[in-house]
């Protein structure tokens, strides 16, 4: 299809580069430099979508990111992105897009029946309509709403592209690359400040690219090009086009998204689609420009009705005629420049409708002074307008100029309320609270010369605030069409139900008036009741007219009504770029033990445990996990096994006050621990609940090594830092995490001593010389090794620590030494089974609700000293008889299986919450006993040994009678560990 609406010359496009693209399945051609909207208009495609509620035909309204209507689905398959404004999509070869919210086609849409039913779909429609009968809500109403609601459709497939996050620091961040931003960046950049200048568009220039502005006698875009070239050449300046600064946060941190990979169907190789920038700026210059606003009239949503600035932009920047016969309607001088530009672009201007009593300039166009467009005519696109006096003008384009709203979004995101200025009839940025300044049109300086001046002044001030000597750059002399002279006009009364304020959400004048009548008079209430300004464009064209219409309905002025709060983001940001790399396996860093590869080499199967990958078991020829676990337990209890315990937290403490520090951290006492011994310790939180447990060993007079559980290690470290720095700075203690510096291997079982004696032939490991809870440092062929006689399995056992890098070699050494005893490596499952058999707790049991007394550690709690949690552990509720206490449980019928999470109820009761007496926290099949066993908490459980209660598992539909027993299933006297 030929580009019938393309002008023969002009525009910032490369006519040598033809780009082919598809829209709704049809093939078209455009030029490099086009936006998708420009290319569609060049091909005469004016109907690009259907509206949200009424499915009315909609066309292109703007020339930028404020577009409410021309939203398309870009790309296909997994890369499909819905609700993309065609006005901001840079055209590329092979682009594929489709219109939204239409069925079966954009030209013939069945749901446009909603348009006829429009009286039903008024403000508050959902609240009023889908109320009764309540039973209809899910089966009928919700389905209907879900089908009808929403614009574009997500692909439903995982996004195959990559997204990045990065940080940027600068002296001066300039937001916007129009004349004001360029002047600011040049001034600050030449002064040597580190400058970042961002613009959402593909090239710098802003209004200089789309308006008939001359600088130093030449087209404005030429000066913009030279300025951009100079900036790009300054080593201290970073130019970021295609980058939207979307959020302004506390302390001059800002968020920006750079569209790196949007110049083609897929991002270039090794490049992300988008990059999120976290910018820390010394000073911020907001040169974000202004957004033109419409004047609301009946049928103002027809394709062919667009903002005057957009009409000029399509002619000047893209050399596209947005129509053939135009009416220009407005309340300020912009209409005459628009008429001139359109005429120069070969559009016949059939009327300039000036709502003001008198114009400031004469015009060669047919002018309808003191007249208003009361409605647009046409069905699928505009075919004419009717004026207040009944005059009808035939046209296919209506360019509307309602004045300008400075882009106060970023400024107000800092918490500054915008201030109404009646002269500009617009909200201007309020007094800055952070190190920022708004300049140019964003501050209400709409003339290009003022934009250049304010931009340069702000650039100088910003550079100086960062300690640079700066001088104002030589600025070009600007010539541009006359503008201003605005006399406020927000809407033209007519058929209010067809007069659209928010084009994307189909909010009409009558909706706002209805909201006001029904009591939603606050601007925040009106917004939510009508959903005005809540669509993806966040009301960039709609908010101020909506506010003005509400103010009129309330009989007040706009500043009395106030404005809603602007929040980030300025324009929609894809969720993918917030996630960045943190998705799927990269959601968080994976931690691996120094024995990970060693485990792999020995056939380990791994499982996730928090951030860790831990060895689950070492299955052999065809074994499942359970069979492997049973074998590993039996072999360990019979002879000897070994297990990776490197993941435990290790904290090295030194100093004369370590014992006192430990005394205050743990609930049990530490003053009597001799050098060369380990002790089990229990830490509480200050509220008296168990926090963590582990052993701490005294390696020297003033040298201790603490171990923590794997999961709590970072929290214990933070807690200790809090205690030392905030509570007890007087204690002379230094400590550091050494978790990653050591590999740990547990060797357990009756033959473990024999194995270790082979590893340490020089050492005396006899029970007399190295008894239970002994701790010592040994030389292992030149390696410092730490040996602890501690056990989690209840067997005679040791834990050996060696420097992390030597872990695999030492593990192999132990395997070799144990070969004659049939040493068996075991995983986390076997470790867990053995600790359940022995009745040891883990964080499966200590879940943040359990006190030391609940867990059976009541006797450990010292009464002779202060420690964290002591006082609140004494609160009366914690000593109530009915508190759940730690017990062992076994099925009466030994063939029954027990499940963690199941509840415990007395016999002869119904399965209801008032009979609930506790729960199972850990359960395992015990190969040693030959049946399932469990640990759990039962009301007053330690007094109920021998009683039979019911295990009730409503999730699995199970009920199993279980007997309450001691939690020490295996070797309750501790004969094995002490052997």
């Amino acid at each position: 299809m030929s580009q019938d609406f393309r002008l023969a010359e002009g525009g910032l496009i490369d006519r040598e580069r033809h780009l082919h693209f598809k829209f709704d399945g049809r093939r078209y051609t455009g030029f490099a430099g086009d936006s998708l909207a420009a290319a569609l208009l060049a091909n005469g495609v004016r109907l690009v979508g259907r509206s949200f509620k009424y499915h009315r035909p909609r066309g292109v309204v703007t020339c930028g990111s404020n577009e409410p209507n021309a939203l398309v689905e870009l790309r296909t398959g997994a890369r499909k992105a819905p609700n993309m404004p065609a006005t901001t999509i840079e055209l590329y070869e092979g682009l594929v897009a489709s219109s939204q919210n239409r069925w079966p086609s954009v030209n013939f849409d069945l749901l446009s029946v909603n348009n006829i039913l429009a009286p039903v779909f008024v403000a508050g429609f959902y609240y009023k309509t889908f109320m009764w009968p309540a039973s209809w809500w899910e089966p009928v109403y919700e389905r209907f709403i879900r089908r009808a609601a929403g614009l574009g459709r997500a692909s439903g497939a995982p996004d195959p592209d990559r997204y990045e996050r990065a940080n940027l620091h600068c002296d001066v961040l300039v937001v916007g690359g129009g004349p004001a931003g360029l002047a600011a960046a040049l001034t600050a950049g030449r002064a040597g400040a580190r400058v970042v200048i961002c613009d959402e568009g593909p090239r710098l220039g802003g209004s200089l690219l789309s308006e008939r502005i001359r600088l130093n006698g030449e087209a404005g875009w030429r000066w913009a090009g030279e300025a951009a070239l100079e900036l790009a050449g300054l080593p201290n300046v970073r130019v970021m086009t295609g980058t939207t600064v979307f959020g302004y946060y506390d302390h001059n941190t800002l968020g920006a998204v750079e569209r790196v990979g949007e110049k083609g169907p897929r991002p270039p190789e090794h490049m992300p689609r988008e990059r999120m920038w976290h910018i820390d700026a010394g000073q911020v210059v907001i040169a974000a420009g202004a957004l033109e606003r419409p004047i609301v009239f009946t049928n103002n949503d027809l394709p062919g009705v667009m903002l005057a600035s957009a009409a000029r932009g399509y002619v000047n920047r893209y050399a596209v005629r947005p129509g053939s016969r135009a009416v220009v309607f407005g309340n300020n001088e912009d209409i005459y420049a628009t008429a001139d530009d359109l005429t120069a672009g070969g559009v016949e201007v059939v009327g300039v409708v000036d709502s003001r009593a008198k114009a400031a300039q004469s015009s060669s166009h047919p002018v309808y002074q003191a007249q208003r467009v009361v409605r647009a005519l046409g069905w699928r696109s505009v075919t004419g307008v009717e004026l207040g006096d009944g005059t009808k003008l035939n046209c296919d384009l209506v360019a509307v100029a309602g004045g300008w709203n400075p882009a106060v979004h970023l400024s107000s995101q800092t918490g500054v309320r915008p201030v109404w200025n009646s002269e500009a009839a617009a909200f201007l940025p309020g007094e800055p609270r952070q190190a920022e300044a708004s300049v140019g049109a964003a501050a209400g300086y709409f003339a290009t010369s003022d934009a250049l001046d304010t931009g340069a002044a702000a650039g100088k001030a910003a550079a100086e605030a960062r300690g640079r000597k700066a001088k104002i750059a030589d600025l070009p002399v600007a010539e541009e069409p006359r503008h201003g002279g605005l006399e406020a006009l927000w809407y033209v009364p007519g058929r209010d139900k067809r007069s659209f304020i928010d084009l994307q959400h189909d909010v009409t004048v009558s909706d706002v008036k209805l909201a006001e009548r029904e009591g939603y008079r606050s601007v925040e209430h009106m917004k939510r009741y009508t959903t005005l300004g809540m669509a993806t464009d966040q009301g960039k064209t709609a908010n101020i007219p909506g506010l003005a219409i509400l103010a009129e309905a309330r009989g007040q002025d706009i500043p009395e009504v106030g404005t809603t709060v602007f929040r980030p983001p300025y324009t929609p940001v894809s969720l993918g770029v917030f996630a960045g790399y943190n998705r799927q396996q990269n959601f968080q860093p994976v931690r691996r033990s120094p024995l990970h590869e060693w485990g792999e080499a020995h056939g380990a199967v791994f499982m996730e445990a928090g951030p860790w990958m831990r060895i689950q078991a070492f299955p052999r020829d065809g074994e499942d996990i359970m069979a492997a676990t049973n074998r590993e337990v039996e072999a360990t209890r019979r002879s000897v096994g070994m297990c990776d315990v490197s993941t435990l937290g290790r904290i090295d403490l030194q100093g004369p006050d370590v014992a006192e520090f430990l005394n205050r951290l743990y609930c049990n006492g530490w003053k009597t621990l001799p050098v060369g011994k380990a002790r089990y310790g229990l830490m509480l939180r200050e509220d008296g609940i168990v926090f963590d447990d582990g052993t701490t060993s005294r390696l020297g007079e003033n040298h201790y090594l603490m171990t923590t559980t794997t999961g709590q290690a970072p929290l214990v470290m933070t807690h200790m830092e809090y205690c030392h720095q905030v509570l007890w700075p007087e204690l002379d203690v230094t400590f550091v995490s050494v978790s990653d510096q050591w590999a740990g291997v547990a060797v357990a079982g009756p033959k473990s001593r024999a194995v270790l004696q082979k590893v340490f032939p020089e050492a005396d490991l006899s029970n007399e010389a190295f008894p239970f809870l002994a701790a010592g440092e040994f030389d292992l062929g030149g390696l410092p090794a730490r040996l602890f006689r501690i056990t989690f399995s209840g067997e005679l056992g040791y834990e050996l620590n060696v420097p992390a890098d030597y872990g695999p070699a030492v593990a192999d050494m132990i395997l070799e030494a144990g070969e004659e005893f049939g040493i068996t490596p075991y995983g986390l499952e076997a470790l867990d089974v053995m600790r359940i058999e022995k009745g040891h707790v883990t964080h499966a049991d200590l879940d943040g609700r359990v006190t030391a007394a609940d867990a059976g550690f009541g006797k450990m709690m010292s009464t002779k000293k202060d420690y964290i949690g002591r006082r609140l552990a004494e609160r009366p509720a914690f000593s109530e008889a009915r508190r759940p206490r730690f017990v062992g449980l076994r099925p009466v019928d030994r063939n029954s299986r027990l499940h963690a999470g199941a509840h415990l109820l007395p016999q002869g009761t119904t399965d209801s919450i008032e009979h609930d007496e506790g729960y199972i926290s850990s359960a395992a099949y015990s190969p040693t006993l030959g049946h399932w066993i469990a640990l759990g908490f039962l009301a007053n459980g330690h007094e109920r040994l021998g009683e039979v209660v019911r295990m009730v598992d409503l999730v699995r539909g199970l009920e199993v009678p279980v007997e309450v027993v001691s939690q020490h299933f295996v070797d309750p006297e501790g004969e094995r560990q002490n052997a």
Partner: protein, 93 residues
Amino acid sequence: MRIPCPLCGDRDSGEFTYLGDATVRRPPADETDLEPWFEFVYLRDNPKGWHKELWHHGQGCRAWVAVERDTLTHEVFGSQLARERAIAEDERA
């Protein structure tokens, strides 16, 4: 948000974790009345405006920092190592 760490300088708030009111004091070890302990563990004011708070520079030097901040405007007035502040208070007491 930027938090001034007395050791590292201005750092992004993402490097810190927040604890809360820095002005509450742990009751003396010999306090046997549960009420002050209950207040220390559970009760916090939620001031609008000036506040002194503990932040932990966990992704940095691991110092606990007492930061003076306006909870309404997020303006930060200054900071001090919690350790130095605690020592100074002990000396006054």
